[in-house]
């Protein structure tokens, strides 16, 4: 264990306040100057199923979770059954003392598959199927155990505060467990109280109650237990640090980019973004009246797509946000936006498919689908962000691409990014530019043609409501005016006009926007999207051991920047593809477009995000020439 770094985990039934507890913990640690990287895992369920939050804190830059938990808090049996083996040898478990005698059969939410594996393991150790057995095994390994009676804590607190209701307020267990953790870790109680205050800012009564509970539990822990490990000190805070949730990057990016219309249909994990936009739908605009975003919850994703396109035709920057099943429904209208050259941005928060798949779990399954979505041959851009901070700036780029090249842009995000809570440098809206391309604000001539054939393939764009700018659109092939035409010569002209824009993209988008070069070496990783963080952390670990591995993060995935990628891979000897799907979809693209093949694949499709530890391990094997061509990662419950 590094001195100033730990992974803290809290688990409990969905709806019991696990997320609130994690937010209190994260915010308190962040205000002590720590970098935070937290991930949330949950079932497709409202109440009762197991959910957990693993928060890694460090005084160094971190961009991922690592395998292993330093301090685990469990006030339900399931958390111990499922996660005890993740606690590292010199780690610790804070658990509710009532749980010791609970057996696996008393936990109805433990699924058979998991239970059978656990039973097999416990039998092999000659142990009974109880919490006590699991804890004993941990103890033998060197894990410290802190038994706390949360029930007793609650009733004592009720007594002390003269508030008998508290006795049965089991939701308070969350704040109690965070506070006990803080006490054990020797962290400042003041930051904890401030964090509670800020999280319950709109509910002062609840804040007060929680603060009392926090104080009580903190003092209880420091009085009863010896400190766990070295106390975590306050460290110097980077100025301009924010603690953001995964969906806030694209949501704030949309606001800053001038997106004023968002249509969506509820779907995990994409709708958080739309709800955030609606919660912040009125805002100040420099030297202008207050602005607003109209967020429309539609009857389905087909409608979300149609409404967005309709709004875009009025010159409004318009967008939708969805996940795989919703995007499937959008495919037909995507083609309409393609043939009619409508600038729209679809933010695609991928999750594990196919079909409903693992609806609340992570996956990068939809790269090939995004590139090929819709029937017929039409143009679109597929652009991928690697983390929350990037997604803010990329959102602005996506809107510019849409306007400049007049086509739909699919902004690839995923559940890993979506359910991450992390510290990063405050977003800077001054760094983004707004370029509306050939959108017209005024038309003088009378013979405006929406699809006028031009040298660069992009036609001046009118909008509904613009004087002298009447235009026609149709999903049929059309002439320059936008009227239906089945003429074979016109067909070639129009198909080629639209197709030529892909060349224009590759010619005019700067290389730095096509891919990020994190250094090149004989061994070089290619990846896209959320593996970025764990890869960078794994590379740091390898660097400390004197290994240099290169890394190219692809961002523009369609049209594919063949020349730029080829030029970077020129001297690379071994290419390693890392991505969160079964088939290595980026690898397929590279195998298609480049004049060479992927040498190694590191893939994960359990629905759980990659940790830097497992990427490090897999890279180590490759460097030592001990790796299979295809490694599949499995960490995470």
């Amino acid at each position: 264990m590094k001195s100033n770094e730990i992974t803290w985990m809290i688990g409990g039934p969905q709806g019991s306040g696990v997320e609130t507890a994690a937010n209190i913990f994260s915010r308190a640690c962040a205000s002590m100057g720590y970098q935070i990287f937290g991930k949330r895992e949950y079932y497709s369920n409202i109440k009762g199923e197991h959910s957990y939050f693993a928060v890694r804190i460090s005084d160094k830059t971190i961009r991922s979770n690592i395998s292993g938990v330093t301090l685990m808090v469990a006030f339900d049996a399931e958390t111990i059954f499922r996660h005890a083996d993740e606690v590292i040898t010199d780690g610790a478990i804070i658990y509710d003392s009532d749980l010791a005698s609970v057996s696996t059969n008393e936990v109805p939410t433990l699924d058979e598959q998991f239970k059978n594996r656990l039973h097999d393991f416990l039998s092999s150790q000659n142990k009974e199927f109880t919490i006590q057995s699991v804890l004993d095994i941990c103890k033998d390994k060197g894990v410290k155990l802190y038994s706390v009676s949360f029930k007793e804590l609650l009733s004592k607190l009720a007594e002390e505060t003269n508030n008998p209701k508290l006795k049965n307020m089991f939701r308070m267990m969350n704040v109690l467990s965070v506070s006990v953790s803080f006490g054990l870790l020797g962290m400042l109680p003041q930051t904890l109280l401030e964090s509670i205050e800020s999280i319950f800012a709109k509910k002062p009564k609840i804040a007060e109650l929680n603060k009392k509970a926090a104080n009580y539990a903190y003092n209880y822990a420091t009085a009863k237990f010896a400190k766990f490990g070295n106390p975590l000190p306050t460290v110097s805070k980077e100025p301009n640090t924010i603690l953001v949730q995964g969906h806030q990057g694209t949501a704030l990016g949309k606001m800053a980019s001038g997106c004023r219309f968002q249509s969506y249909y509820p779907i995990t994990p994409a709708s958080d973004e739309s709800v955030f936009l609606e919660s912040n739908d009125i805002f100040e605009v420099k030297d202008n009246r207050p602005g607003s975003t109209i967020v429309v919850q539609t009857e389905d994703e087909i409608s979300a797509m149609g409404m967005m396109i309709g709004a875009a035709l009025t010159g409004t920057r318009a967008s939708t946000s969805t996940s795989g099943p919703g995007f499937s429904l959008m495919a037909e209208a995507l083609g309409w936006a393609g043939i009619n050259e409508v600038p729209v941005v679809i933010t695609l928060y991928q999750r594990s498919g196919p079909s409903t798949g693992l609806p609340t779990r992570h996956g990068q399954d939809d790269l090939m689908f995004a590139i090929h979505a819709g029937h017929g041959e039409f143009q679109k851009i597929v652009y991928a962000s690697g983390d929350i901070e990037e997604s803010f700036y990329d959102t602005a780029k996506c809107f510019n691409f849409a306007d400049i090249f007049q086509m739909p842009v699919i902004h690839m995000m995923d559940k890993f990014i979506g359910s991450t809570v992390a510290t990063c440098v405050k977003f800077d809206p001054n760094q983004i530019t707004i370029d509306r391309g050939k959108l017209l604000e005024k038309i003088d001539k009378k013979d405006y043609k929406r699809f006028e054939l031009t040298k660069d393939g992009v036609s001046p764009r009118s909008k509904l409501g613009l004087e002298n700018g009447i235009f026609w659109n149709t999903g049929d092939e059309s002439d320059e005016q936008g009227h239906v035409s089945e003429d074979p010569v016109n067909r070639i002209e129009m198909m080629d006009k639209r197709a030529s824009k892909l060349e224009l993209i590759l010619k005019t988008v700067p290389d730095s926007d096509k891919a990020t070069n994190f250094g090149l070496a004989d061994f070089c990783i290619v990846s896209w999207g959320s593996p970025k963080g764990p890869i960078l952390d794994a590379l740091d670990m390898l660097k400390n051991e004197g290994h240099k591995v290169g890394f190219i993060q692809l961002k523009l995935l369609h049209p594919f920047p063949t020349d730029y990628i080829n030029s970077m891979l020129k001297d690379v000897k071994t290419i390693i593809d890392i991505e969160a799907n079964q088939t290595g979809q980026l690898g397929m693209l590279l195998n298609t477009y480049l004049d060479r093949k992927i040498d190694y694949y590191v893939l994960k499709y359990t629905g759980r995000p990659m940790t830097s530890t497992e990427i490090y391990d897999s890279l180590k094997k490759i460097l030592e020439n001990k790796a299979e061509k295809r490694q599949v990662l499995t960490y995470g419950a």
Binding site: M255, E299, G306, G310, E332, P429, K463
Partner: protein, 321 residues
């Protein structure tokens, strides 16, 4: 300079079948627009897919020929983003009540201030005459291999149940009456629905112009046909919800529902139901965003010299640690 009827015509070749009811509807729309004198660039016609979908190319205002079943989604998006536009959506009965039925119901609930006209002929014409959702059970039109096995949907009743606040029926061969209905629909504050009976001369050989004219039901005493079509307004029918009380609403909804069932020998046209007491979508938005209409999504400035002018610093401050 005042706009003339000819200003609303394009020179795009019209390939509808001779005698098609669609011509009457298109002419009515053009006449209504000319009467309303709305600047051409401020009007947009959205259309679905099928014969009726071509309408947007024949009218000289912006025309957005969308996807099968999805016309209402595109049209609502445009109207919500730019409430200054006059938006008219058109489509067939298969388009709106078959593949697009979900959008029809959802649009009713929203009550966006625009007009939706269904060209109702009981068949899917452009795919050679399959039964559409409004074809009556048991009918066997010309190209059906067997008689229609499905019950028909009642567009008027469905519109009222869904929340449309102006529900009317027109007849494609009564162009003046239809023009007036369209004008009332466009002026209505809320979502207006017009079900237009439109004989398909090629594939619907049952609900023909002659059938609507009652050629098959001669009045023996006068030796003249008894026309099926009659006008609600000629019977003293009052479709308007006048005050905000349940008893009034019940009466107006019920009488409209009852009228909507009339079919075999007497078919009413005219306004069945109008309710401007229910607030339309844009006023509901304004309850929350007071300057929405004057500072709509389409009207809002978003950049100055290529830089964002949206202030997100307050939100960023709450995220600061």
């Amino acid at each position: 300079m005042a706009l003339k009827l000819s200003d609303f015509k394009t020179d795009v070749h019209n390939d509808w079948c001779p005698g098609c009811g669609d011509f009457g509807i298109m002419n009515s729309i053009q006449m209504a627009l000319a009467d309303l004198q709305i600047p051409r660039h401020k009007t947009a016609i959205f259309s679905g897919i099928g014969c009726s979908g071509k309408t947007s190319h024949f009218i000289n205002v912006s025309g957005i020929h969308t996807l099968h079943g999805r016309v209402l989604t595109f049209a609502q998006g445009a109207k919500i983003a730019n409430p200054d536009l006059t938006v008219i959506a058109v489509g067939g009965d298969g388009d709106g009540l078959g593949i697009g039925a979900g959008h029809f119901v959802a649009a009713g609930r929203r009550d966006v201030n625009m007009t939706y006209i269904i060209f109702d002929n009981g068949v899917y014409g452009l795919t050679k005459g399959q039964a559409s959702p409004t074809l009556k059970l048991g009918l066997k039109t010309k190209s059906l291999p067997t008689s229609n096995i499905n019950y028909d949907v009642n567009p008027i009743a469905l519109a009222i149940a869904s929340g449309f606040t102006f529900v009317a029926r027109g007849y494609a061969y009564d162009v003046r009456h239809l023009k007036d209905l369209i004008k009332r629909a466009v002026k209505h504050d809320g979502l207006a629905f017009l079900d237009v009976l439109q004989p398909c001369p090629t594939y619907n050989d049952i609900n023909t112009k002659d059938w609507y004219a009652g050629i098959d039901q001669m009045d023996q005493s006068t030796r003249t046909p008894k026309p099926r079509i009659y006008k609600l307004e000629d019977t003293g029918y009052d479709p308007i919800v006048h005050y905000n009380e349940e008893v009034e609403l019940n009466e107006k909804v019920t009488q409209a529902m009852i009228k909507s069932i009339e079919w075999d020998n007497k078919i009413p046209i005219g306004v069945f139901y109008q309710n401007e007491i229910i607030s339309s979508y844009h006023t509901r938005i304004m309850d929350h965003i007071p300057n929405y209409v004057e500072n709509s999504p389409a009207a809002q400035p978003i950049a100055k010299d290529g830089k964002s002018i949206t202030n997100i610093s307050e939100i960023l401050d709450t995220l600061r640690v």
